[in-house]
């Protein structure tokens, strides 16, 4: 998968480059609109990450020009402006997703993954999800650890399902709140941690190999080891 990152701030550009490359993407970077359009002219990309505040032109114009050139690949907009109008304008003018700075790399990776999947052929909706000896039955809304049934509330099941679907990938608290609770809030207290802690008590019961891991400073990951 080939991505183009258009970002004028060299520190952010470099960290995006490194993060995305480590995640397995082939990344080209452009510091301004002009060089971005020059690259777009020659290469074919599977996705774009565009900052709105470029030194030579508006990021939205870059997106418009790409669209005019026939590029249909998904675009993730980055912006320091948080206003709702700005977000709506960005999504109306060719953006597929919108992120405000500052953001966690984990969240950016999740969003990029989502965007790229959007273009791919729809997969068969799974009925069962499995990680190690943890199995989720999405139809009966049941979770089993080995042969033991794990008693979960609806909310806990939704949280576990989200973790399992993203098994092996770090998810942030913001992502959990957004995807599981459908809320864009930024709690000042450890509400998400307590939710995870409760879930972990049930899923990683005594004697079982722990599956839910805390990545300090970032979030959580569900993985085998």
């Amino acid at each position: 998968m080939r991505l183009l990152v258009v970002e004028d701030d060299s520190a952010i550009r470099e960290f995006l480059n490194r993060g995305l490359t480590e995640a397995g993407y082939r990344v080209d970077v452009a510091p301004d609109g002009k060089s971005a359009l020059a690259l777009v002219d020659e290469e074919v990309y599977d996705g774009f990450i565009v900052d709105l505040g470029l030194p030579d032109m508006d990021g939205l114009d870059v997106i418009g020009r790409c669209r005019a050139l026939g590029h249909t690949a998904p675009v993730l907009i980055l912006s320091a402006r948080r206003s709702v109008d700005e977000r709506v304008r960005g999504l109306e003018q060719g953006g597929d997703d919108y992120m405000t700075k500052p953001f966690a790399l984990a969240e950016l990776l999740a969003r990029v993954r989502n965007l790229l999947r959007r273009g791919a052929a729809p997969q068969m909706e799974a009925v069962r999800l499995r990680v190690a000896d943890l199995e989720l039955d999405l139809v009966r809304r049941e979770a089993r650890r080995g042969s033991d049934l794990v008693q979960l509330t609806t909310q806990e099941f939704a949280l576990l399902e989200y973790l399992v679907r993203n098994a092996g990938r770090v998810v942030t608290r913001t992502m959990i709140l957004d995807r599981v609770w459908r809320m864009r809030i930024d709690p000042a207290t450890n509400v998400v941690d307590v939710q995870i802690y409760r879930l972990r008590n049930k899923v990683d019961a005594e004697g079982k190999r722990p599956l839910i891991h805390t990545i300090r400073g970032v979030g959580y990951v569900l993985k085998e080891n």
């Binding site: 500052p102 864009r184 307590v194």
Partner: protein, 478 residues
Amino acid sequence: MFLRKTKSQGRSAAWRIAIWPTAAFALGSAIAFAIMYLLIAKDIRQRSDAWLSGEAEVLADVSENTPRDALYDRLVQEVAELASREVPDTSDAHGKHQASVLFLKTEPRQEPIWVGPTPKELFIPAVTSMPLVPGVPANVRVQGWKKAFRVVYHGQKDGSGLYLGFADLGGAQMLDRLTERCLMVWGVTVALGFLITWLAAYRTLTRVERISETVSRIGSEDLGSRLPEGPHFDEISRLSRTFNRMLDRIQSSVNQMRILTDSVAHDLKSPVTSIRGSLEVALSDADQRQWRERVAEAIDGLDRLSQLLNTTLDLAEADAGALQTRKEPVELSDLVKQLVDLYQPAMAERGHEVVTHLQPALIEADSSLLNRTIANLLDNEIAHLPNSCRVNISVRVKDGEAELTVEDNGPGFPPGLRSRAFERFVKGQHSTGHGLGLAFVDAVARAHGGRVEISDRAEGGAVIVLTLGEAVNEKVGR
């Protein structure tokens, strides 16, 4: 120099304000006086004309019916003199007695009979040369006489003519006196009116002037001083009051700005310091496990920083009236229930018991802002309550307005904090927050046409009541 200039401007404004009503008053009263004068003059003339016509007819009758003998002239003359005595002689301007009635009978072949003022040579040609219509009084001017004579003429069958004239000196004098007094009264009234108007305008403008002097003196250094509001409740006092309210607002925003700048600086400095510290320690640390711990600490610190920035920006937007809301129908009780579900475990971990009473309340609201607002309130409860408290959360519709109440049996608000709880960066002594929470809640409530009220319960504990505008339950037929 500046002071003098503004003073003279104030005076000229008073002058301008006074001159127009005075002019209008002067003109109006002058017209009224003139009309009165004309009516009186007309009345006087009508009376004297009536007397003149009657007398002339009697005289014509006498002269007609008296036999023409030697006594004829004498008789006519006496009758005429009798008639003239009916009118008291009046003195002229010099105190000289003047006969005000003239009688002339002209005969074709004889000397005319004359009764009246002297010298008759001056009067006879003046009277006879006038083309007079018999029986109709007309004005005859005689040289040397200020007042014209009203003269009536009767022609006689024998070709003689009979003239009776009357100069109404009494009426004229009365009119003169009237005019004189009217002019005096008029002049004094106009002058007095002008003076009063000018004084009133001047006094009022002096108050305005004082306001502008005081306001111009109030710089950013002296925002505490206020205009005297005075005992009156007139426009000027309202102006003072308005200025004072404006100064109150300016002062409080300036104060808030100072607090904000100080607090942001303070709140930014400590996390920046600790982040820097963590990273420095990480750099000099050889142990990789320790190193990860430091970096994680730094990221936590950065998260707190960005949270502070976001809330500060939200509040700045709210202050500028630019808090953008995307309103849609939201079931408040559902929204609260979701948040309570999210917060319940964290509350339970601290031994709090959460009791909810949620009644349906459909409102037009920005659900994203509401989520953050209610999360804020719940964060507050977690942060400030000692362990094992009871938290009541209820949603209801009261007087058509949706109302969310969060109530606890904790220690309540610290004394002195309650009145200022909605100001930015105001926080309790032991609070670990940045003091923006309730200010944000307040801003969101106001953006929804509602309000936040906080109080202490009589039996201990705090109550926060968030009103979120009109509930639309009925409208959609729920």
